[in-house]
Amino acid sequence: MNDIAIRVENLSKRYRIGVERHDTLRDALSSFLPRIPRLHPQDKEIREIRDHSWQKESEFWALRDVSFEIKRGEVVGVIGRNGAGKSTLLKILSRITEPTTGLAEIHGRVGSLLEVGTGFHPELTGRENIYLNGAILGMKRTEIDRKFDEIVAFSEIEKFLDTPVKRYSSGMYVRLAFAVAAHLEPEILLVDEVLAVGDAAFQKKCVGKMGDVAREGRTVLFVSHNLGIIVDLCTRAILLSGGRISRDSLPADIVAGYIAHDSMHHGYRDLRFWNEERSGTGDLRVTYVCTTDVGGKLKSKYSYGEPICIHVGTEGKSGTECVVGISIRNSSGQLVLHYSNLDDRAEVFLTGEKSEIVLVIPSNPLNDGEYSLTVWLGDAFNLLRDRVGNCLSFRVNSEALGRVVSLASVRMSGNWSVKNASGFEH
């Protein structure tokens, strides 16, 4: 028996975009009937040329000649920008959509999780939805019976089990949905971005559960924008760009390259139309993020100890109290620093439609390297209004201050002294 779980060979997927010429009922029907030989060969040629030139304008290859093999027990993270083909790859492997060319082989029982709570019905109770959702995810009824208590315990909604889920808070809804999905026991798990939900504590729990799945020796293919999770959970990462595999290596290497590649924007990013790693209710949105020196000049390279000012432009509902979180991650996606106005006992009250929130880090403790910013806006109840993950990066380079030996992300100066043996009294 071979130890390959997933084998993908030259997989491509083409989407047609815009208005389709073939989109008539007659053509749709004729494609099912045996082809009638054409009387004039020239006609066929003309038609082919015409089709070809037309296709060029409105075709889009979401995935192009992608090949890889995943061994049993490997946990593979797939990263890439929006439109890189991550979701398309997962949809093909989940058999939701067909590839245009190429083939994939999957050895083992597959469970795919492209969304949390697929098929949840708002009118049904929590209990009923556990069964419905379980069946949709491919669980047998006996299997759901067996795991029912475990699912309920994990979701922490015991009290509301017989309440229609439309009366649930969004947090409860997501917890229940994830709990069902987490108890799916396939040999091969395909997961898309489902962890970008719920409050921080529950996210942590979910990541923990994902870690368990990975350690149990199951094969996991995991698409995420959360680079930290990829580094923590995965044994291998695949970077997609423009529908092709651009790198396939250890997660830390790929994540580092991914962030470094993205730092050519001199300390400013317009986020009004930014959709990556974005979640939240959206009634208050981050419109831009920039880093400057104390004089307000845009800057993306700093030295150790230099002040860094982080500006967050917001737009949306005014007259609201706001909780702001800004986190700084290193190039392997690990959280290095996290600032919250709650921790600093600072009140952020937005009175206008548009505002700018500024965080000044008086003396940055960061070691040399590449860092990325994630901005989080919540309301007084800690409900997520907008989160933009890894939206801006900056570099710390303190060459001018002398060589640095430390490999840690944070550097704090210490006071050193030496006591030599001769100095001691016996």
């Binding site: 009922l25 093909i92 939701i96 959509t97 082989e105 597959v110």
Partner: protein, 275 residues
């Protein structure tokens, strides 16, 4: 170890009935969900199932029975109308549910794999519950009007099956077309209304001149509706419902079912991309 092979498919697809069988529990849960959700947050709840055909029956009785004096054979017109409405309502509900099912389940289709045939099937099956309730109402109605049921009632399941097959066949065609052409949603109410007048629901087929009656058997629902009346209310079977013509009805229903299933399966591969 199960192996799944994913590759582009071309041409006519197979029916894939084994996959549907493997997912029979999902089918059960979808039917159960439809039934459970249907009358939630309504004050009258399941009473609607009874009320709808009763109101239709009352309207038809006044309009066709009293005013237009449509003949209803030996049976009182209200029972005559209800016996026709019973299979007809099942058919029209099933057809509507099956035809709109795929588009309504687009959130499932784009997020998870399962045999898509399960979706229209669940529409056809979930209507059976309404049918059962209406059937009980009919029995009470027959009791009130002093119509005694006969052993012919044992043939009702076969007639119901014919209605199911017809609804599913057309439902498969329309649901698959609906994914790409939302025109189906606008067409459907007209189609059902016209179809109802082409089927002897409010009138008996005895009203149609004899030489045109064979045309009625092209519509499988004629056999179903007249068959229901024959089985429930007694009386002679109309000559055009003779075995060969009934066989033609069944044949047409089966052709539509099989072609619908093949069309569905063949277009299925692009559902997730265009729904």
């Amino acid at each position: 170890m199960s192996t799944i092979l994913i590759r582009p498919t071309r041409g006519l697809a197979s029916l894939g009935l084994r996959a549907v069988w493997e997912y029979r529990e999902l089918l059960f849960f979808l039917v159960w969900r439809d039934v459970k959700v249907r009358y939630k947050q309504t004050a009258l709840g399941v009473l609607w199932v009874i009320l709808q055909p009763l109101v239709s029956m009352a309207i038809f009785t006044v309009l066709f029975g009293v005013l237009l004096k449509v003949p209803s054979g030996d049976a009182p017109y209200p029972v005559f109308a209800f016996a026709g409405l019973l299979p007809w309502n099942y058919f029209s509900q099933s057809l509507t549910r099956a035809s709109t099912s795929l588009v309504q389940s687009s959130h499932l289709i784009t997020k998870i794999y399962f045999p898509r045939l399960v979706i229209p099937l669940s529409g056809v099956f979930s209507s059976l519950v309404d049918f059962a309730i209406s059937f009980a109402v009919l029995l009470i109605l027959m009791l009130l009007y002093g119509v005694t049921p006969t052993a012919r009632m044992l043939l009702l399941p076969a007639l119901l099956l014919l209605a199911l097959v017809t609804a599913l066949g057309f439902g498969l065609w329309l649901s698959a077309l609906n994914v790409k052409y939302r025109d189906v949603g606008y067409l459907l109410p007209f189609l059902i209304q016209i179809w109802m007048y082409l089927t002897p629901v409010v009138y008996g087929s005895a009203l149609i001149p004899e030489r045109y009656r064979f045309l009625l058997s092209l519509n499988p629902m004629t056999g179903v509706v007249e068959g229901f009346r024959w089985a429930l209310l007694g009386g002679e079977l109309e000559s055009y419902l003779s075995a060969p013509l009934l066989a033609l009805s069944v044949g047409i229903a089966l052709v539509v079912l099989v072609s619908g299933a093949l069309f569905f399966r063949t277009t299925e591969r692009s559902f997730a991309d265009i729904v």
